[in-house]
Amino acid sequence: MEQPFDLTLIWAGIIAFGVMMYVLMDGFDLGQGILFPFAPDEHHRDVMMNSVAPVWDGNETWLVLGGAGLLAAFPLVYSVFLPALYIGVFLLLAGLIFRGVAFEFRFKAKTSKYLWNWAFAGGSTVAAFAQGAVVGAYIQGFETENFRYVGGALDWLTPFTVITGLGLVAGYALLGATWLIMKSEGEVQQWAYKLAPRLLLMVLVVFAIISVYTPFVDPYVKERWFSGFSAIWLLPVLALYCAFTIFKSLRKGQEGMPFVATMGLFLFTYLGLLASKWPYMVPPNYTLYDAASAFESQLFLLLGFLFVIPIVLAYTAWTYWIFRGKVKAGGYH
């Protein structure tokens, strides 16, 4: 079938946007889990959990949609990434399940609270690490033959992916801390103010290591980065500007700006990654066009989305409106 327009590109945009939304939304609440063990007492932990309670589990639905959407639009990504990251995917899902359940039961628990604290912290950290390792594995590329993954079970686990995993753990922790600054007050906020600059420093160190490391891991990226002047260098500059803004706004004691700037830091790093690998979706062999599903299927789903998504947004907005208004502070006790 002759394709009248480039649906694959549209879908790539949708998926890229979806991934970014997921990372930002789930990032700050996974961040609460990562910071959980470092909180001075149970009061801090209650506030941390309360701050993300209303939003976290919508993300689970988005994750399921991400899995299904990828299968629909770019089946090759789905059928290469998941087998290649087999063990990592299991860790990710197990982590998400534990933290999800911990969320529910911690509020109901009294004597067993510490167990749910550990499930929440452990599950969140493992899930964040696994997501970071996925990013690293994407940069590394996959051993494929005839549209199938043919590598081993632990090929994805290299020093490089360990660093990207840790990088995302630090990144989510920073996102979590700046979120907490925005959403809390008093003692808890002070604690988050103290944490944030240290986390920012860690994030920058890890990002620097990854940036130096990447060209050695992937010659394609090296080529793209260093073959003459390219606009791609604008993105890390913008990311650094965001980092500087976080630092400045933290010193001034601003409440909203650190979180907004952290989102910017994530956004420009992410765009930098995409620009470095473009147009490869399953590196090193397959571009987004190789990975795409049939035109009819992409169209069938897109038409439905155009019709259904506005309705979904309308009734979701309506439910938010019903439950509008400020949530009282204090909370749990």
């Binding site: 309360n50 976290w56 639905t61 399921v64 299968l71 629909a72 628990a109 043919v150 439910t319």
Partner: protein, 466 residues
């Protein structure tokens, strides 16, 4: 020992999907029950209906939460263990699963918030509307997933080009030959599940003399449901079986334990099927009955397993016995439906201890029946993953080793065992709290939010009160 990734992946999929299926099959029926209670409350204004609804909404919230958590694994399982299958069918399966999320999951999630926490925030009519939307969402969800499963059973509307199926007719692919039967059979199963759980729990409360009048009403509704649905399900199941005979004769042959094609085939009540010897041991049967049931002719010809090579036969023992377990549960339900009707005539169903105790046990029967039924239809398709198109072995992830599959199989068993124990333990606490606790005035807590199903239930995880 050689670890077989194929066998381990099949065990893993069976485990994960069975574990998950328990929750939706209950919530689909329960959502409709709650919508009915809300409608009765809206229409009559009798506070009794709202009392019941408040309690069952709490139960729904916990079960729904467990379903969501266990469901996350499902959408990734296709890719991790069955990547060849996913890749080949992505043009169909991808859109179908995506549509399930956007048309059903979001609908359920949004309106569940209103149902759980909006009682005092929206007019009663709007609250009823939310209850209906949640029930509708559960049905839309089962529509998509059963459509996907039916395509694997009776494929249609697809064309294979360069190793990928392409959809040539969405109508044919979505509504395949077995879809309508499967959907109705499953919808009735969900209603039966809700009816029997409501009956069992109400019977337990009545035995304890708690909230007698209210629980008697719930029991009465559940028994009427059972009386209509249980016999209807037998009829629908029979039609589904005939549809299967037409499209997947080997599955029916395995269900009947019939090794050789013949006329006047007996209906086997008991046997130990022996796949190696291609025969049954200790067979106990009724002459000619299978021919009559399947062809409505005492001497009708019924296909046997010998029509295909032994390695192309489904696992007969599993299919044969799962089928018998399912049918036995179904007949037990009919027995209880009639027993309930007889007691009702004498006006004493709420006083018969043996009947009420029996109902308590029967609340497990629909879960057993549903799982057994799915084992029949899924194992009965073997060795095909997509019937007569792709085998299990062809659909498996090529890079998967036995060690990897064993690692995640054990992993999921451990994770689910922990989550499931906590969930069931908590659900039992909600049951113990009963209607009384669900209706106690309750100050809304900071952490109780519309997007968090569990926070609708007020029981504490440990002993004592909160």
């Amino acid at each position: 020992m050689e670890l077989d990734p194929l066998l381990l992946s099949r065990i893993q999929f069976a485990f994960v999907v069975c574990f998950h299926a328990i929750f939706p099959v209950f919530t689909i029926g329960l959502a409709s029950f709650i919508a009915v209670l809300e409608a009765l409350s809206f229409k009559t204004g009798n506070p009794l209906w709202q009392k019941l609804s408040k309690f069952w909404i709490q139960v729904f919230a916990v079960v729904f939460g467990m379903g969501v958590v266990s469901g996350i694994v499902m959408s990734f399982q296709f890719g991790t263990n069955w990547s060849n299958f996913s890749y080949a069918t992505a043009n169909f399966l991808g859109p179908v699963l995506s549509y399930e999320v956007v048309t059903a999951f979001f609908l359920e999630a949004a309106f569940l918030g209103v149902l759980l926490f909006g009682r005092d925030k929206v007019p009663q009519g709007v609250h009823l509307f939310a209850a209906i939307m949640v029930a509708l969402g559960t049905f839309i969800s089962s529509f998509w997933i059963l459509s996907a499963n039916s395509l694997m059973q009776t494929p249609d509307g697809l064309e294979l080009r360069n190793g990928m199926y392409h959809v040539v007719s969405w109508a044919d692919a979505l509504f395949t030959a077995s879809f309508a039967y499967r959907f109705i059979h499953m919808a009735l199963a969900s209603f039966l599940t809700a009816a029997l759980v409501v009956a069992g729990v109400s019977a337990w409360f009545i035995l304890q003399k708690r909230e007698f009048a209210t629980n008697r009403k719930a029991l009465s509704i559940a028994l009427w449901m059972l009386l209509i649905l249980a016999p209807l399900q037998v009829v629908v199941g029979d039609f589904h079986g005939l549809n299967t005979l037409k499209h997947q004769p080997m599955k029916v042959a395995a269900m009947e334990g019939n090794w050789e094609t013949g006329t006047g085939v007996p209906l086997i009540l008991f046997a130990i099927p022996d796949q190696q010897a291609q025969t049954n041991h200790f067979e106990l049967s009724v002459p000619k009955l299978a021919s009559y049931v399947l062809t409505h002719d005492w001497d009708g010809e019924v296909p046997g397993l010998n029509e295909v090579a032994p390695e192309m036969q489904p696992p007969v023992f599993i299919v044969f016995w799962s089928f018998r377990i399912m049918v036995a549960m179904g007949l037990l339900m009919v027995v209880f439906a009639i027993w309930g009707l007889l007691l009702r005539y004498k006006g004493k169903y709420q006083h018969s201890r043996s009947f009420l105790q029996g109902l308590r046990l029967m609340s497990l029967s629909p879960f057993i029946a549903v799982l057994a039924g799915w084992v029949v239809t899924e194992s009965g398709r073997a060795p095909w993953l997509i019937y007569e198109q792709m085998t299990h072995a062809e659909g498996l992830t090529p890079s998967l080793t036995g060690g990897m599959a064993l690692f995640t199989l054990i992993g999921y068993i451990v994770v689910y065992a922990l989550v499931f124990s906590a969930g069931v333990y908590y659900l039992l606490k909600v049951f113990r709290g009963g209607i009384e606790k669900a209706n106690r005035p309750h100050e809304q807590q900071e952490f109780e939010r519309p997007k968090r199903p569990f926070s609708a239930a007020h029981a504490s995880l440990e002993e004592g009160d909160n």
